[in-house]
Assembly symmetry: D2
């Protein structure tokens, strides 16, 4: 029961429950001298917050972050940074009604078994998508650190939603458009189609899955600590900590399994006096180490498990099958909201590895 801490040198401890008093994060290992204020975190939290568009749940979460420790006069101090969001707008009554009828596709049954029934099940407790706000808290700090020290830029977007796949877009389209539409799609035309499909699915009381793709630029060559703390290993580990994620692939990923070696190998070339590769099927990682090309990886989100339609489950007290209608309002898809979360977890891993590999010093040069 000690799985709530991640990272080696830039370490996130996540705490809090969906309907408890708060959610929050402690970051241990942030170098001293990073200019940091609540708005740096709030910006990313706002991108993740529900209730912001028709395609996500209508629950209003203020999600106002407060930094409680680790900064002084506007800069990180080298001490642990604790940040917190107080919960509000919780109505937990619906969860009492279904405590003995685990929702299919959710962690209700596994959590109950694991924690002997002591877990806080309200709103899914620790298993709520809400917990990803704590990833964003840490990720926002990591992003800023990476940007200011190495110029790293991280761009995630909805590559696919309900089977509709964005094919015609540039990275610059993604940079500009992803947060300009409700579904976080780099292609505004497809975005509108996706949006319609989400609304249609909401009407049916059903939900959609999709794929978030993430690109990280300006990552220096040499991040990753093989054989086990490979860069892709650590990205995969944290991506799979996001609720509803069922798969991860790097570069050509599963598609590469159907290529031949001569098709898949990225041939080296000189470009503007620099060694680079003509293609990027490797997704910027070879042997678990970043190779200077953009890091590219994809995260598969299953359709949201909370649906309005009636489903078959078990009444665990009576030990018999019953019909369940999950009460409350639901996200018809988590994909759109997951986009800033994927950016955040990517930043957490890159910051951790950049410090491990000596690319970011314990005290930043920007000391006054």
């Amino acid at each position: 029961m000690t799985g709530n801490i991640i990272g080696e040198r830039f370490v996130l401890t996540s705490f809090g429950e969906s309907h408890g008093k708060c959610i929050g994060a402690v970051i241990d290992g942030c170098p001293a001298g990073l200019k940091l204020a609540e708005e740096d975190i709030q910006r990313d939290l706002d991108l993740r917050r529900p209730g912001q568009s028709i395609v996500t749940t209508q629950r209003k979460e203020g999600d106002v972050v407060e930094i409680m420790s680790g900064t002084f006069r506007g800069y990180s101090t080298g001490a642990p940074i604790m940040a917190i969001i107080r919960n509000q707008d919780q109505d937990s009554r619906a969860y009492e009604a279904i405590v003995n009828t685990p929702r299919p596709g959710h962690a209700d049954a596994t959590a109950k078994a694991k924690y002997g029934g002591f877990n806080d099940y309200r709103g899914g407790g620790r298993f709520s998508g809400r917990i990803t706000a704590t990833f964003v808290m840490g990720g926002a700090i990591a992003k800023k650190l990476l940007k200011e020290t190495l110029g790293v830029e991280i761009i995630a977007y909805t590559r696919e939603l309900g089977g509709m796949r964005a094919e015609n877009f540039t990275l610059d389209d993604a940079r500009k458009n992803r947060y300009a539409n409700d579904v976080r799609c780099p292609d505004p035309v497809l975005a509108e189609e996706m949006r319609r499909k989400v609304i249609e699915m909401r009407g049916k009381g059903d939900s959609l899955g999709g794929i978030v793709e993430c690109v990280a630029l300006n990552v220096p060559t040499g991040l990753g600590e093989p054989v086990f703390d490979s860069l892709d290993s650590d990205l995969a580990k944290i991506a799979l900590s996001i609720p509803a994620v069922k798969g991860v692939e790097f570069g050509a990923g599963f598609a590469s399994t159907r290529m031949t070696g001569s098709q898949n190998n990225d041939l080296y070339q000189m470009s503007e006096g620099k060694m680079t590769s003509a293609s990027n099927n490797a997704g910027g990682i070879l042997g678990g180490i970043s190779n200077g090309m953009p890091i590219v990886y994809s995260v598969a989100f299953k359709p949201a498990a909370s649906i309005a339609a009636k489903q078959r489950t078990i009444d665990t007290e009576k030990e018999q099958e019953v019909d369940l209608v999950v009460p409350g309002r639901h996200d018809p898809t988590v994909v759109a909201r997951a986009v800033p979360v994927v950016e955040s977890v990517t930043a957490l891993v890159l910051a951790d590895h950049a410090i491990r590999a000596g690319f970011i010093a314990p005290v930043l040069k920007s000391v006054e």
Copy 2:
């Protein structure tokens, strides 16, 4: 540079290089009282060993394991178990010739950059597939521990090779057939087709990728430590430590992204007085915790990077493009050899989590 240790309570330290004196593993955390001898490890090593069939490289590796510490009178003692394989049949000359012309798709360039050129590049050094024998050393012990304490059975097999996908087989077919053919396919008919394609590809000097699927049976409900040390997170992390792996998916995985929630959710049912689910799109893991259903996940292997065909690369001394013909004999595919490796890493994670969650005691009951 400290990424060679994995696990929390059943901990593997991997060491050694492809063309160095040896490869080996230290297991710290194996409970005392496990009956253990070299043949328990040798059996799995033999399944991984190259030179055993026409579809893999012709290099002869004896791969004879020796347990050097941690057992006494045939049982594990609770002390670290060190096991070693001495290397033999190495001809490193070919690697000297290509030290300045990094092989496309390999870690040559990233390793050189990361380790300042000090890395042992012979045979790929730490980045050789050979290093996975150290995973098998640890995994064989984990497998035995899991089997004797919990009855866990782990079955991996080649689900797909060069685009040919096994569809018509039962788990029992896989159990019986996978190690009875060269390509580790559960379907003997398809296996023969796969084998032919591998030989054809070898003739062309090219290579194939594929997908290894892994099933773990009798895993108790409650393994996994969310939010970060989720069971799927830790399986994904270690799977991506295997060279050539570019993706991982659990249960329906990427396919689930194209389903609706009502299609994808596994509905609960009573079956022989036990709560179970009608389908297993979740792959046996909900909320990062095992749910009592079989663990099912897939690992994507890119086509082997070492191909006989001429490829474009850079001469890093002269800083200009050159043609490279990678010398030596190569695996036309790593998929077949990876099957026991995937079983091994699965066992490592399950053993670690079973101990963490209290399902395996520090001293086994089977004390004489």
Copy 3:
């Protein structure tokens, strides 16, 4: 800069600064099903709190703890427990005046060097004795867990203060008396002498050191994970994390260096049908493993570094020697306040090791 997390299975993350918004702790790994409320923690915090007697600093700290996560309906849930104390009554002006004149015996100069001047120096920041309240938060939970599952009792007391050493007392005296006098001495008569000497020293603007001895009863045989995570190793590590601690010894400790083997060895005997030992020079630990005898160890506290008397230091801006009078009110000794802190850190280590060794299950039996 990632040293604020300790433990393997019962893990404390400490955060906060002396004059920041708050101090607090996250406990990850507390088993589910422990009855837990704020008063369980408050009780121990009150014993540590300054301003409670004439022998300690007059600063008034409310030190009211609030549990923010990890409990539900009065029980621990298995999720991380976050607890916080909001700071109050801080006057930081004095610290501005001395920012360039490091106080002798304090961490002012080392912290400034390490964190590039970005550290929050007000009130000593992370180096304040106040941070030990976060150890007490975690320790109080550990204590309750140990008591309810194993019946462990932890009794620390002032063994020596300003050279006056308690010699005539029983463990039961310590149990009853230690918190009944200001100096936490098991002997009430000596306590009064100690108290007078503290007051005298306060009058002189000077300070006293001393030794806290700690006894843990009912610790099961088998705690400790040699060779490195020995029980004494982990107790020593955390004890030396308490500010002002300069030494630790177990059982006969330094005195044993002057004995012969025949004098120091604890001979085994049968007592009431149980194997025990006639003496306890080992302090209850052999080979790094608890042996069933009481754990006994001592922690050396230097005299408090903050004294009212004028001291020589350096003006780091002008790079010249100056006289410094440290402003504010000071503890004439930290020993008395350290007693519950030593109990707390002992509990943290014992709980962590009891879980590691399988003596405490992830879910307590006391489920409703």
Copy 4:
């Protein structure tokens, strides 16, 4: 049972048993580019080896180290360094005779309890002083790394033996003399007295304890990661992993508890344009961080538990008291042999912290 790994960035995994096939160590995290050969390790091992003088046990151990991985062409590669010593000259018969009569002062009883009787008890198994040779293997590499990158010099010596305390010597005396006499004393005259007392005690079948003091020079300001991974915390932890250690103190240590603050505080002064302190009661560590002064700490060794004299113990099968004469030849003191071990563990901690704090890069500049 996973306590055999220590360090965060310079990580030692220790394995092997006293009478098993071998003892050895894996170092993960050694930067690439360190010139390293077996003689670098052998030198320190030879200083620790028994059988070298009249004051230690007469067992002949070759203790020939072999580096098995992690170096290439004479330099560290960044991969794990595995080094091994094959055991020889073992006669385990004596241990069979006493398997049910635990030796007082040894780990026999605790190990048997902890590992359910499966532990390899021959020669003390993992609890033998012989295991400290694995600390020396790692420590020798750490020493060389520290010396070549930072100029750190580590000097330990016998400060006290059997109550005789060296008082009249300089650090330079210690540097020159400690390995020039059998008892590792900085004062050659006292060394001769100590030696005589050891021989006298051997004649009586008894043993002596003592204190090893260790000084580390040229340690940069800023090592240590408070609050928990303080430099003194980590030194204490590893020192207490050495068998027979019962206490640790830094600088004035326990003596400081009897000083007043005005006596104990080290006043700052300017010396040759550098801020320094007039005294070093702090032992070079303030707030858990090195302050640029020499690190000075002392380690208390109890008298060796193995004595020739008859002792009372329990026959655990018959559950009754019996007399025991521990067979074999014994060290009349472990203090002399512990001197290079204390140097080694000090080096391990300093190297780890120097890497953590960014003072040593992942690749050394000395690349060819």
